[in-house]
Each structure stands twice: as structure tokens, then as C-alpha cells.
């Protein structure tokens, strides 16, 4: 028994001495905060922050090269946790954003110019005359955004438009970057009024090719609060800093403006209307 104890202790002693020596000889300086921060991050490695993975972001934050609220997925909660680790203060006040598709032109209301046959991917399809939709600004409906969403928050509807599930969406921004038509925007979840069009075409042309496109009539600009809706190159654009009453939607002759509840408050009729095309 004694020999066993002695043998084991000796072995342990020799091993630990060896390890200590090696650790000394091959020491690498490291920042313990990196691991802590990485633990606080969601760990989905979605790339929403623009970096290859959560580990890389953790390293950047620890080195002070990235802000503590750089993770769009984790939002306020994660930012606060990281602030604790880094010994910084975090003000908060970040309103959750979700992706939103600024196009209402599904297959029933928006015209197509040709029969497309080829790769089922929006960016690839845009190589050929910018896509088969007569509206050059509209959603092409091939589901590239659905494919890149790491959170299964985006689904193509049979009508040819994608739909965002606000609950699942983390505003990682992958779909925003992937959309070749740049019609997906991150919008504050508490705002209800949206203009579902991105077309800069003139009104006459829009009328011809899409039943729900913005024709630039400026009625909404006049109806809404001062500066809340602005005309930009034939297109009405919502400034999400403002709270706009739902009633503004009623003045739109094309039903382009819709009141949609993204955070689950109020009625969700608007969402259904958007999904169904609203005609």
C-alpha cells in the first residue's frame, strides 16, 4: 500500500515538474477576459457582427477594438454582461430591431417581364437583366434571404415574397447584406407604420407594373407628422425616429403604406395583409 502511494506521488511530482517547466519555456501571453466574453456571447457564430465568429469578436472586444454592444444578436442583455466583464458601464436603451422587407409586390400584384429559367438564387438571377420582375426594385422571390438566415426566421411564402418572423429575427443583418435588390431593412420593432415599396420609378411606370407600388403622390407626406415621411427620388420613405399614427396608412391610394405590428402588440391584421398581398 505504501509503495503504491509513494509511486503515485512520485509520478505526480515528476509530471507536475515537467509540466511546470514546459509551461515556463513555452509561455504564451493571453487575456482571460476573452474566454469570459466568448461565454457571454450567443455562440451562434452567425457572423452578424461582420467577424468570422463569436471567438473573434470576443478577442476584439477584449482588446478594445470593438464596442461592447457589437453583437447585434445578443442585444442589450449580452452588452450588459460584457460591460460587467470589461468593467465598463453600458447605458442601454437599444430598441430591438428586426428585418423587414420593403416590397409588397408579390406574384399576384406585380408583373413579370419574362420566364426565368436558371439558378434559384436572387443574386444569380439578377445577372440576367436584373431579374424577371418588371419592377427593377422589387423582390425577386427566389429566397436567397431565406437561405442565409441562420435563425430560421425568414420563410418564402407561396405568393413569392419572404416573410420575417419577428420573434425569431435577431437583426443579424445577413439577409440585408444578401439581398441583391437591397430591399430588406432593419427596423425598430416598436414602430408600426411601414412603406412596402422600394421603387424609384416614376408613378406612371409603377402603376403599369405593380398594383401596390409607391407612385410618389406625396399624400402620406402631407398627412403624417412633419418630417416623418419624406420623398426620396419618387419614393416615400419612413423616418423611424418618428411615431406615426396608423391613420396615415389610410390615405395611400395604392395600399403601399401599412400598419403592421412587429412586436406582437395590437392586432396582427396588418401582417396578414402584407402576406396576402393586401388586395
Amino acid at each position: 500500500m505504501l509503495t503504491a502511494v509513494i509511486a503515485l506521488s512520485a509520478l505526480a511530482l515528476v509530471s507536475s515538474l515537467l509540466l511546470a517547466m514546459v509551461a515556463r519555456a513555452f509561455a504564451v501571453p493571453s487575456n482571460p477576459k476573452v474566454e469570459e466574453i466568448e461565454g457571454a456571447l450567443p455562440g451562434a457564430n452567425c457572423g452578424g457582427c461582420g467577424l468570422p465568429g463569436c471567438g473573434e469578436l470576443a478577442r476584439r472586444i477584449a482588446d478594445g477594438k470593438a464596442d461592447i454592444d457589437s453583437c447585434p444578436v445578443g442585444g442589450e442583455r449580452v452588452a450588459q454582461m460584457i460591460a460587467l466583464i470589461m468593467g465598463k458601464s453600458y447605458a442601454g436603451g437599444l430598441v430591438r430591431k428586426v428585418a423587414f422587407i420593403l416590397c409588397g409586390g408579390d406574384d399576384q400584384v406585380a408583373a413579370k417581364r419574362f420566364y426565368y429559367n436558371g439558378v434559384r438564387d436572387c443574386t444569380s438571377a439578377a445577372i440576367l437583366f436584373g431579374g424577371d420582375k418588371a419592377c427593377q426594385y422589387g423582390c425577386m422571390g427566389l429566397g436567397t434571404c431565406e437561405g442565409v438566415c441562420p435563425f430560421d426566421a425568414m420563410h418564402m411564402l407561396p405568393t413569392g415574397l419572404p416573410e420575417v418572423e419577428p420573434v425569431k429575427c435577431t437583426a443579424c443583418g445577413k439577409c440585408v447584406a444578401a439581398c441583391p435588390k437591397h430591399i430588406i431593412k432593419l427596423v425598430p420593432v416598436d414602430k408600426r407604420l411601414h412603406i412596402l415599396c422600394s421603387s424609384h420609378d416614376r408613378g406612371a411606370k409603377v402603376r403599369k407594373i405593380c398594383a401596390v407600388g409607391c407612385i410618389g403622390c406625396t399624400k402620406c407626406v402631407k398627412e403624417g407628422p412633419e418630417g416623418a415621411i419624406a420623398m426620396q427620388n419618387n419614393l416615400a420613405v419612413v423616418n423611424y425616429d418618428f411615431d406615426i399614427p396608423d391613420t396615415v396608412a389610410a390615405v395611400c391610394p395604392m395600399n403601399t403604406i401599412r400598419a403592421i405590428s412587429l412586436d406582437g402588440s395590437g392586432d396582427n391584421a396588418g401582417v396578414k395583409a402584407a402576406a396576402g398581398g393586401g388586395v
Binding site: 439558378v119 438564387d121 445577372i127 436584373g130
Partner: protein, 440 residues
């Protein structure tokens, strides 16, 4: 140096007999011309006319921007009705001028005068070629004067006049060689003069024996060799043509001038002849209007800017079951969505296919049969490239040399799974280039 057979290639049904026997005929002026500004590879020229301006035939309506750019000329006299966005046959919507001809077809000053070309030196010829708006008329539309200006350390010792016309259906170069052999060779002689080259070869696929015969006859006195080439697509692609003719391999990522060769299309040579001898800028070209979807296939001499619709109407219109209109040949041409697309300098043909002839991409899984590997004239592995592109793994596609793809279409032509490979490669190439541009 002896030539050889290049690797790969396919043997599509050529269908050249549809229009090969029809002599070139000049199409009457259309009621409305849509002249695109961007007609050359490189920088698009800048418009210098505005709505309401009166223009003369041959007058410059867009000035070149930078070296790799050529001017655009008014194809006839008339007024500029508007400047707007129109479908361009290369596959995008672009800015174009709508010109309403006044019917007088009046030349601008200094144009259309016969002159003695022997007084021009190399620089003068280059300048004329540029001012006349010459671009490669085989389809790529690369400015000719740029090609004629190789850097000093890369001397050219061989000029190849490319009459291979390997694209199925098309016969415009074929007819041009039959009808204007002497003029083509004279144009080629100006190129030779600019480059200081004595060695000129005309390369024609053997399926055009009459064209070989005609060119031989004209070339005899000039000491220019006319060579018949095996009939295999893409025989007319520069790299493959050079290898087949003289056995030189153009390094990947390099240009023919790196091996001392310059290739010019027969149509370009003819345009050079017109520009240098008669001071006629490039405002019209031979377009082969063909395919089973066309009522009367024929070869027509068309003003640049004539809409496809007008050209097709002139050729008897479309058959009722026409399903696809292609600007260019069926292997590399671009399918058009609108007949408002207009003839540009690079439009070698308008092919209208019947619905049942059109290849439909299904995009089933790759079964790795290797037919594309055997067909690819660039010795790529289209199978794996296509799989990478399909999964949006463009970095891997780049590693497998997707940038060397010449988009000849051989892989997709033979693919039993009907995968849209060329489409995928175009996307992949764009992504790889974008990434490289970002990095630098």
C-alpha cells in the same frame, strides 16, 4: 509551329444551312433607332447629345472615356427623340438615345470619302480605328485600337483573322467572307501594318469550304495563308484557335499577345477597311437572323440601333411557337426578354428558337459523370465548380480556377442533369472578382 487539336469541345448541331445560302442584304432604315452608348468592353462613352438635337450620319453622339473606350456615332441623320433606359442585348438595361431618322441619311462632314490609305502610318491607322468606334465584332466588343497597341516588350509576330465562326446557326462571318474577301484582307493588312507583322493567317472552320475557297483566291496574291480548321466548338475562342493553329498555349490569366499573337474577327477587319479607305465609322454590321423560330432566316446588313423587333419583322417575323430570342449565338449569346433590345456593334446574330428547341435547365444533382470535364476546353472541372457555386462557396470555386472559365457553354451543353453551370460560373466569377477587388 504546327497546331494541334485543343482539349475538349463539343459538336453541337450547327444548323448553319438555315441562312448560309442567303446573300447579305441591306435592311431599309427603320422608323426608330435605339442607339446604346455602352457598346464596348471597358469604360462606357459619355453622351454628347441631348433630347431634341439634330444629328448627321456618322456624327459622334458619345465621346470615349479613357483609353479603353470608343466613340458612338449616329447611324443615320435625324433627331434625338429621347435618352432613356432600354434593354441592352448583353443582358442589362442601359442608357440609349432614341433617334428618329429624317430619311435623308445625310453623312456628317468628312465621312464617306474615299482616300488613299497608303499615306497613313501606324499611329494614324490606330487613331482612325479608334475614331471610327471599332470594337471586336465577334461578340466581346473589346476596343480594337487597344488590341492594336501591345506593349513594346510583347512583340506580335502573328496576326490571325478569325473566320472560324464556331457558334451554331450563325453565318454572318461566313457570308462576309464569301462576298467581301478582298476587303476583309485589305482591312487585315492595315492591322498587320500597325503591328509590323508579316505573318497573317486566316482561320476558317472546314464546314465552310466555299468561304475557304473564296478567301484563298483573294489571299493568293497577298501571300496570306488561309487555314481550314477542324469543326469543333469552341474553335473560334481565341485561346483554342491559337492552339489549334500554331500550337501556342496562352498562359492562364494572360492574353494572346503574351505569346505574340493577335486575333481579329473578319467582321472587324471589314469594318477597318471601311473606316480607313472610306472614312465610314462603324454604324452598321452584318447580323445573321436565323433559327427555326424565324419565318425567313437571312443575313442582313443592319444599322446599329435597329431594334430586334424591326429586324425580325423584316425577316418575316417570328413563328407562332417561338420561345426564345437570343442576341448572338445559341452557345454564348444572351436571351432577350424584349424585342426593344437593339443591334449593337457586338451583335453577330439574332437567333430565335422554337419552344421545343430551347434547353431548359432543371438543375438535378450532379451525378459526376465527367462529361463536362471531358468537354471543357479550358480543362477545368465544371462539375466541382458547379457544386461549389451552387452551395455559394465561391472561395472554393475560385481556388478551382473558376476565373479561367471562358463561358463557352460546353459543360452545360452536355450536362445530363441539366445544371445551369455557366450561369453559376458567371455568378462565381463576379463574386471572386468582387472579393479580390475588396482585398486590394
Amino acid at each position: 509551329m504546327a497546331g494541334g487539336k485543343f482539349f475538349g469541345g463539343v459538336h453541337p448541331e450547327y444548323n448553319k444551312d438555315l441562312a448560309a445560302a442567303r446573300a447579305i442584304e441591306a435592311m431599309p432604315l427603320a422608323a426608330r433607332l435605339v442607339v446604346h452608348f455602352a457598346q464596348n468592353l471597358g469604360a462606357a462613352p459619355k453622351p454628347v447629345v441631348k433630347k431634341g438635337d439634330a444629328v448627321k450620319k456618322g456624327q459622334i453622339i458619345a465621346e470615349p472615356q479613357g483609353f479603353i473606350s470608343v466613340p458612338i456615332h449616329a447611324p443615320t441623320s435625324g433627331t434625338v427623340q429621347s435618352i432613356d433606359i432600354f434593354p441592352h442585348p448583353v443582358g442589362a438595361d442601359m442608357q440609349a438615345a432614341v433617334i428618329i431618322p429624317d430619311g435623308k441619311d445625310e453623312w456628317a462632314d468628312g465621312c464617306n470619302v474615299e482616300r488613299d490609305a497608303s499615306r497613313f502610318d501606324a499611329e494614324a491607322i490606330k487613331q482612325i480605328v479608334r475614331d471610327a468606334g471599332l470594337v471586336g465584332m465577334g461578340g466581346a466588343a473589346f476596343p480594337t485600337h487597344v488590341k492594336l497597341s501591345p506593349p513594346k516588350e510583347k512583340p506580335i509576330d502573328l496576326l490571325i483573322i478569325n473566320g472560324a465562326e464556331c457558334e451554331p446557326y450563325l453565318t454572318s462571318d461566313h457570308r462576309l467572307m464569301l462576298e467581301k474577301p478582298a476587303q476583309i484582307l485589305e482591312g487585315a493588312s492595315y492591322f498587320a501594318k500597325v503591328l509590323g507583322v508579316n505573318n497573317v493567317s486566316v482561320a476558317i472552320e472546314k464546314n465552310k469550304p466555299d468561304a475557304i475557297e473564296a478567301m484563298r483566291k483573294a489571299a493568293e496574291k497577298l501571300g496570306i495563308a488561309v487555314r481550314g480548321l477542324d469543326v469543333v466548338y469552341p474553335q473560334g475562342a481565341e485561346r483554342q484557335l491559337i492552339f489549334a493553329l500554331v500550337g501556342r498555349t496562352v498562359p492562364a490569366g494572360a492574353l494572346p499577345m503574351d505569346v505574340g499573337v493577335l486575333v481579329q474577327n473578319v467582321g472587324t477587319s471589314f469594318a477597318a477597311y471601311e473606316a480607313i479607305r472610306f472614312a465610314r465609322p462603324l454604324i452598321e454590321r452584318v447580323v445573321c437572323v436565323t433559327g427555326r423560330g424565324i419565318v425567313n432566316p437571312r443575313n442582313v446588313l443592319v444599322r446599329i440601333g435597329t431594334t430586334f423587333g424591326d429586324v425580325i419583322t423584316y425577316c418575316g417575323g417570328q413563328q407562332p411557337d417561338a420561345g426564345k430570342v437570343i442576341g448572338g449565338g445559341p452557345m454564348m449569346g444572351v436571351a432577350q426578354y424584349s424585342l426593344e433590345a437593339s443591334v449593337t456593334k457586338g451583335t453577330s446574330g439574332i437567333v430565335v428558337l422554337k419552344q421545343e428547341e430551347v434547353a431548359q435547365f432543371v438543375g438535378e444533382a450532379c451525378i459526376r459523370c465527367g462529361r463536362c470535364v471531358r468537354a471543357c476546353p479550358m480543362r477545368l472541372n465544371p462539375s466541382v465548380l458547379g457544386i461549389f457555386a451552387e452551395r455559394l462557396r465561391f472561395d472554393d470555386a475560385g481556388e478551382h480556377h473558376v476565373l479561367d472559365c471562358i463561358e463557352c457553354g460546353c459543360c452545360a451543353y452536355v450536362c445530363p442533369s441539366r445544371r445551369p453551370m455557366v450561369h453559376q460560373f458567371r455568378r462565381a466569377k463576379a463574386e471572386v472578382r468582387r472579393k479580390a477587388a475588396k482585398a486590394s
